[in-house]
């Protein structure tokens, strides 16, 4: 039984220019202890998916279709009060900008104990502080820095504090939205190791959102590639990396710089993200696609199963 099932999720934003269909028909399932990476460029809707799962969409956003089943309950049908019981206690989030996710006028230890107390009112303040201590040990922040303010911390330490906060209520699902984007490579690899460790140790399910395909490969079991609001390829990491099917996945993999091989001048033809207010009827990638045929722009692509666990949204993949 899957812990989380997302079915045909569609989310849009009311903007001055019209209704922007940010996410359209995204479906996936996640078992307890599994990790899923969602990869795509800026504006493809990956953060919107994360925010919808947390019930944290801004006021101008609305879910137009779909279901989010978490432990067999539809999160979208819950009242605000009910969702508050689930959020942070069962589903926690590691935010993108660690720099801005902490409150600058409160001590770090207080902010984390606040999260524990808010969701477990029966715990005493001292007991909560004890828990914070063990969390700090777990994520590797020296205990004598506990009572510091966020601005005393380096970028990597702030991100560790955010991870401690996400782990505070023993959630069964963590959504990590670009947790290492603002960090340099050395700190990034430390944070990724920490996330992997906790995920394995506590059997937490993880949704890892990133534009960096190599980081996702490092952390996740499954990967979903998003383009212009749609999932375009989904499968086990090994399947997708060994045999990428969708042309967008192929271009993402080809444009990634590795240390293993020297890339000779790569000519990417990166267009702008397609118009999502009036999305095209056919395949949304066809303007940038190298193997597109005339019919691609006319009819919407359908999922093609490559293996029981690997599928792509492209006619040319057959």
């Amino acid at each position: 039984m899957a812990l989380l099932t997302v079915e045909n999720l569609s989310v849009g934003y009311q903007t001055r220019k019209g209704f922007l269909k940010s996410v359209q028909g995204v479906s996936f399932a996640l078992d307890q202890g599994q990790s899923l990476g969602i990869v795509g460029e800026s504006g493809c809707g990956k953060t919107t998916v994360g925010m919808a799962l947390m019930g944290l969409l801004p006021d101008n956003a609305s879910v137009t279709d779909g279901k989010i089943l978490f432990e067999d309950q539809d999160l979208l049908k819950m009242s605000k009060k009910e969702i508050r019981q689930v959020r942070w206690k069962k589903i926690a989030m590691i935010f993108q900008a660690a720099m801005n996710a902490l409150n600058p006028v409160h001590r770090v230890s207080e902010q984390i104990s606040e999260a524990i107390l808010a969701h477990n009112p029966e715990i005493s303040e001292e007991a909560a502080m004890k828990q914070v201590e063990s969390l700090f040990e777990l994520v590797g922040i020296p205990l004598d820095r506990m009572r510091d303010y966020p601005h005393h911390y380096s970028g990597g330490m702030k991100q560790r504090a955010i991870i401690a906060m996400a782990l505070a209520c023993h959630p069964s699902l963590i959504i990590a939205d670009e947790p290492t984007t603002a960090l340099d490579v050395i700190v990034q690899s430390q944070i990724l190791k920490a996330i992997k460790k906790f995920q394995k140790e506590f059997k937490i399910s993880l949704i890892f959102i990133s534009h960096d395909i190599a980081v996702v490969a490092d952390v996740c079991d499954n990967i979903g590639i998003m383009f212009a609001g749609q999932l375009v390829e989904y499968g086990r990491i090994k399947e997708v990396f060994d045999a990428p099917m969708h042309p967008y996945t192929k271009s993402l993999l080809a444009s990634y710089l590795t240390l293993d091989k020297k890339v000779v001048q790569f000519n990417s033809d990166m267009g702008e993200t397609p118009d999502l207010i009036n999305p095209a009827a056919g395949c949304r990638f066809c303007e940038r696609c190298s193997i597109a045929e005339a019919t691609c722009s006319l009819r919407a692509p359908e999922w093609v199963d490559i293996s029981p666990t690997h599928k792509a949204l492209c006619y040319q993949c057959k």
Binding site: S154, D184, I186, Q188, I237, S255, D260, S268, M270
Partner: protein, 269 residues
């Protein structure tokens, strides 16, 4: 063309210390030594990579080279002439020859200026050409960075542009004076991986077309390898390794360089 016989920028034993001010509650001011006697040469026509982690002093080095910061000790030479203490007219001339592309295109562009004003501003400051030739130069530059057709972008403002487009505007602004030397400080760290490579290609095309010399500052060895002829690795304010890009990646001799290589995400699954 690369010409190893011609040194364009020379750093000699550059040191820089930053002092934090004493606060009301926490007593003594602290000193942070950002650079401890850094020396290297950059040759005309090459792309020179400076690689290191946050706080290693790589940005400080870049800011000293473009004279946004003065070193405490040491010398900065351009074409063999000492530039450490210049001011006035010589400094203005120096600024025409040496330009910088900043890290964050969301903060480096003036939100009140149109794209045309942003790119033409350096030409107006340095009093180069009349209205018509300025317009032509701006158009040319915008085409080279892939903002085409240029006239469509003239009267737009930074907030209407994507991150990749903003960084292209920043590149156009830096290049419009046809400088001889440009410092690019992590120009893609705020951008997506797929857009980053596009920006690298623009930089490398411009480098060939205008024959400028680049100092490319980054924390990613992979990016440095893609773009640079030579790489220097900086750690805690000191250079630990310098050499041809391929050599450094294939045979790193310093343990810190090896740590950087190991930390780089790979497709392990």
């Amino acid at each position: 063309m690369k010409d190893p016989s011609k040194v364009i920028i020379q750093l000699e034993h550059i040191s820089k210390t930053f002092r934090t001010r004493a606060s009301l509650f926490k007593g003594d001011p602290k000193e942070v030594m950002a650079l401890k006697g850094v020396s290297f040469n950059i040759y005309r026509g090459e792309i020179f990579g400076l690689v290191g982690e946050s706080g290693s002093g790589k940005t400080t080095t870049g800011r000293i080279i473009v004279k946004l910061e003065d070193p405490d000790h040491g010398k900065l030479l351009l074409d063999g002439n000492d530039m450490t203490k210049i001011k006035g007219k010589t400094l203005k001339y120096f600024r025409r020859k040496v330009q910088m592309i900043f890290q964050d295109p969301y903060q480096s562009l003036n939100p009140y200026l149109s794209i045309y004003d942003i790119i033409s501003e350096p030409l107006i400051i340095h009093n180069i050409g009349n209205t018509e030739t300025i317009k032509e130069k701006v158009r040319d530059m915008m085409k080279s960075v892939g903002l085409a057709p240029p006239d469509d972008f003239f009267y737009r403002y930074p907030h209407q542009m994507s991150g990749g487009q903003r960084q292209r505007i920043a590149i156009a602004r830096a290049m419009v004076l046809k400088p001889e030397f440009v410092v690019a400080d992590e120009p893609t760290s705020m951008l997506d991986a797929s857009i980053a490579i596009h920006i690298f290609n623009i930089l490398s095309d411009i480098q060939k077309k205008l024959n400028v010399t680049f100092l490319f500052i980054t924390h990613s060895l992979a990016a440095a390898r893609y773009l640079c002829d030579r790489i220097a690795v900086i750690y805690k304010g000191e250079l630990v390794e310098i050499g041809p890009a391929e050599d450094i990646i294939q045979n790193p001799s310093h343990p810190y360089t090896r740590a950087l290589i190991d930390a780089h995400p790979r497709f392990r699954y």
